[in-house]
Amino acid sequence: MTAEEAAMTRVQVFLENGFDHDEVVLRTADDEQRIENVTTRYQTGLATMVDAELPEHASVVQVAVPARMLAAETVIDPSRTPYVRVEATDGSLLVRADPDPPMYA
């Protein structure tokens, strides 16, 4: 494990309301993930959960839904707010970071 890897912190990104068979692109630091066929389950208000690695210091998390021309980003400190919630309702993307894990039922 390199020193740089050791300094990475895991964050969890929760794709929540408003997704309907979307391709979602998640960019963190130098990493990019493409998550296909993202669809919100009405039972929980959650589509899927994605793990990402970020440097320990404040970092940018970018989320995009290219087919809907939606993109948003937020700066988070993963040591304080390791939970990122994303909604795609009302024609926009809302990205926010939380210190506590989200809850679904």
């Binding site: 009302d90 970071a97 039922a105």
Partner: protein, 777 residues
């Protein structure tokens, strides 16, 4: 705290939101499902009836002023029902068409615990073709839901009208009380289904009677159609009735009750006694019964990871739920497990979006966040109990098709709905409520929102009932209506439609079913002996993924009523060729079919069978496939239905090919039987002389050919009984025995009767039938 530093770029809108509470959606309303008009908005529901709206002449006025919930014995809200009704058949002229010549076989159904009636496929007496005109009686039920007092009334009157062959209608009216008449009146502003069943614009309901027994609702429907007044008898205080079954995984904790008074964070209006899941729903008008025995499911069923996927829970539901069926039913399975595969962020889930009938199963995870009281919580025990209980009622709410409070406008709402992110409802997340969980529970009085109550109590059953699926309407037969009517018509007579056969039929094999109408009561019942053969009988065949069609017989019998008495345990029997009728072939292609039978018993009574499920296999070989074109014709259908023909040469030729080329098939048994039957006796046919005049000619019997063909049909009595049915094989046995007698071979005749009696006895046929065969006929 959240970090709402959000920007949007390249999109169609910019979002800058703060806080953790989703904002009310401004999303475009989607067109609701259904076919009727829709109410434009949901009005707030008062906790108690405003005094001015209460009947001043009733004790309800006094009750409404009390700061306590409406006393149950005073409330008049609930379900009212018309007595099951049977509408008269539609009178139409019955033409007498030319028909194929028929063998002189007695076709009357007979009664008696020991006597199966002969096959209906043979005819006697006047015969009339119905020419596709529906003469079968229309069966129906009608219920009225009155929701004007009691716990959180929605000031609504709604009704559901069900006709097996006329469709179904749910109508809804928001009502106010007319102080002059005390009647609850309002416009019918929502319809789902066949609007012609209640075309009027306005309903006015008067509630009379005091005790449960005398309580009545008199509803007058007016405007937009003839004014109609109907009297409904009080049935129950509940608007719906549902059965829950609770099972627990061995490593999980089950919570089905909570006493709100155990936690100091509560409003004054919260219940002060222990709430159970059942009482929480009963409080809002949903009667809950419990099924099953609280099974404990071994954690090993979750697999090596000891957490549950949706599919694993669905499998467990199929295995452990005593009521499991992939069909709509007012029932749900509740699983108390420890953790979902998603982990502790998931407190519960209505996992059942798998299969045909969904929303039947739900789970609560005791190892999730709902069991983790926040740091500093002074009452962690009640806090956890409260969250577990809230989760259970919440997840069960999803089985009723209730969405989360902030999702109401999403998907396809049953009518335009508004998101209600600040609702104090079981369906809202306490942790998303403004102010968070503590703020939510300090105001939550353990109920649902007004629009949720309105949905639970009054929405069409097809939207609410667990497992409900889009119904058939294309052909006017409503499985929902059938099931409702069946449950609404318990009576002394039980109708069965059955086959003595595995459910899987060979390709080309005709389907012959038997009907039994049995007196299951302890007292004798008077009945028309012809009830299983005349207009009183209705049969419907549905093909899965295909069409639903009514079976229309080739012949109708215009018989005078023949009153008879069925003693307890006695039954009427008849046999029916189901594969085809005047509407063509109903059961032919490979696939799965369901058959429904209903009998009009007169005087407002009816008997409805449980559905009979059949499967038709694909062609076994190329020969069977090739013959299909010759067999699935109307002539062959006629010939099979009438037990043979002396004039339909093409049909006889096709059946001969079946007998010769598929000698080991069940279709060959039928072919030999119907080819042999006309040869067993003399028969009349209509012929045209050379001078053009018609006359009746006699075609003499051909005993040796009849013997050969009927013997081939009965070479294996058991196999023949499988496909011809017990009634059919008994008839064929008698026929062949008579031919053998004619041929002078009394020994063979007696041996055949004994062989047949032995086989049928082993198959459980009634002793009277067996002894009659042994008595040589």
């Amino acid at each position: 705290m959240s970090e709402p530093t959000t920007t949007t770029k390249g999109g169609t809108a910019t979002a800058q939101r703060t806080g953790t509470v989703p904002q009310p959606s401004q999303s475009t309303r989607e067109e609701p499902r259904g076919r009727g008009r829709r109410i434009s908005e949901i009005t707030p529901v008062p906790d108690r009836i405003p005094l001015a709206e209460v009947d001043p002449s009733s004790a309800a006025a006094e009750a409404a002023a009390l700061p306590i919930p409406f006393p149950p014995f005073l409330r008049r809200s609930g379900m009212y029902q018309l007595q099951p009704i049977v509408l008269p058949p539609i009178p139409v002229p019955i033409p007498i068409p030319p028909i194929p010549s028929i063998p002189p076989v007695d076709g009357s159904a007979q009664n008696g615990a020991d006597q199966p009636g002969p096959q209906l496929t043979a005819t006697a007496g006047p015969v009339a073709d119905i020419g596709g005109t529906p003469l079968i009686p229309l069966f129906g039920t009608e219920e009225l839901r009155v929701d004007v007092d009691g716990f959180k009334p929605t000031m609504t009157v709604s009704g559901t009208i069900s006709r097996i062959f006329g469709g179904q209608l749910t109508w809804i009216a928001r009502v106010t009380q007319n102080p002059a008449t005390n009647a609850w009146t309002g416009p019918i502003s929502y319809r789902d289904g066949n609007s012609a069943l209640r075309p009027q614009d306005t309903v006015s309901v008067r509630l009379t009677g005091g005790s449960f027994l005398t309580r009545q609702a008199t509803a007058t429907f007016s405007g937009g159609g003839p004014t109609v007044t109907l009297n409904y008898g009080y049935k129950t205080a509940a608007f719906r009735a549902v059965a829950f079954e609770y099972d627990r995984v061995s490593d999980a904790t089950e919570v089905t009750e909570f006493d709100p008074s155990t936690h100091p964070v509560r409003p004054p209006t919260a219940p002060t006694t222990t709430l159970t899941i059942a009482s929480a729903y009963a409080r809002v008008g949903i009667e809950v019964s419990k099924t099953g025995g609280d099974s404990v499911i071994d954690i090993s069923e979750a697999g090596a990871n000891t957490t549950w996927s949706d599919q694993e829970m669905h499998d467990a539901m199929q295995q452990h739920w005593s009521r499991w069926v992939d069909a709509p039913q007012w029932a749900a399975w509740v699983l108390f497990a420890r953790l979902h595969d998603q982990g502790p962020t998931l407190g519960g889930i209505m996992f059942d979006d798998i299969g045909t009938a969904q929303r039947q199963g739900t789970a609560i995870f005791s190892g999730s966040f709902i069991s983790q009281a926040p740091a500093g919580e002074a009452n962690p025990g009640p806090w956890v109990q409260r969250m577990r209980f809230w989760t259970a009622v919440h997840e069960i709410g999803h089985t009723f098709n209730l969405a989360h409070s902030w999702q109401k406008s999403l998907g396809t709402p049953w009518m335009p709905l508004t998101d209600e992110p600040t609702a104090l409802s079981y369906m809202n997340y306490p942790f998303l409520y403004p102010g968070g969980t503590t703020a939510f529970f300090s105001a939550f009085d353990y109920t649902f929102s007004p629009q949720e109550l309105f949905f639970l109590r009054h929405a069409p059953a097809r939207f609410v009932e667990q497992g409900a699926a889009p119904w058939f309407s294309e052909h006017g037969f409503e499985q929902d209506a059938y099931r409702q009517l069946r449950s609404a018509m318990p009576g002394p007579l039980e109708l069965d439609i059955r086959v003595h056969h595995e459910s899987r039929y060979e390709f080309l094999e005709p389907v012959v079913a038997e009907l039994r109408l049995k007196n299951v009561s302890p007292t004798p019942v008077a009945i028309d002996a012809n009830v299983l053969r005349d207009d009183a009988l209705a049969l419907v065949v549905t093909k899965e993924g295909g069409t639903t069609r009514r079976w229309l017989p080739f012949a109708r019998y215009c018989a005078a009523p023949e009153p008879t008495v069925l003693k307890p345990g006695e039954a009427l029997y008849s046999s029916v060729f189901l594969s085809a009728g005047t509407g063509g072939w109903l059961i032919s292609d490979p696939g799965t079919y369901q058959v429904f039978a209903a009998a009009d018993l007169g005087e407002g009574r009816a008997a409805l069978s449980a559905p009979l499920r059949l499967e038709v296999a694909p062609p076994a070989d190329a020969t069977a496939e090739r013959l299909a074109g010759q067999v699935f014709t109307q002539d062959v259908a006629h010939t099979l239905a009438f037990g043979g023909s002396r004039v339909l040469d093409a049909a006889n030729s096709a059946l001969r090919e079946v007998a010769e080329q598929l000698p080991g098939s069940q279709a060959a048994v039928h072919a030999n039987a119907v080819l042999g039957t006309p040869m067993a006796s003399d028969g009349k046919v209509l012929v045209t002389d050379q001078d053009g005049r018609e006359r009746v000619a006699i075609i003499p019997s051909s005993p040796s050919e009849a013997q050969q063909l009927l013997s081939a049909a009965l070479v294996d009595i058991n196999r023949a009984a499988d496909t011809l049915g017990h009634i059919g094989v008994t008839e064929q046995t008698r026929q062949l025995a008579a031919v053998l007698e004619l041929e002078g071979d009394a020994t063979a005749s007696a041996a055949l009767l004994d062989r047949s009696a032995d086989a049928l006895e082993q198959r459980g046929v009634l002793p009277g039938v067996i002894s009659a065969l042994r008595r040589r006929g």
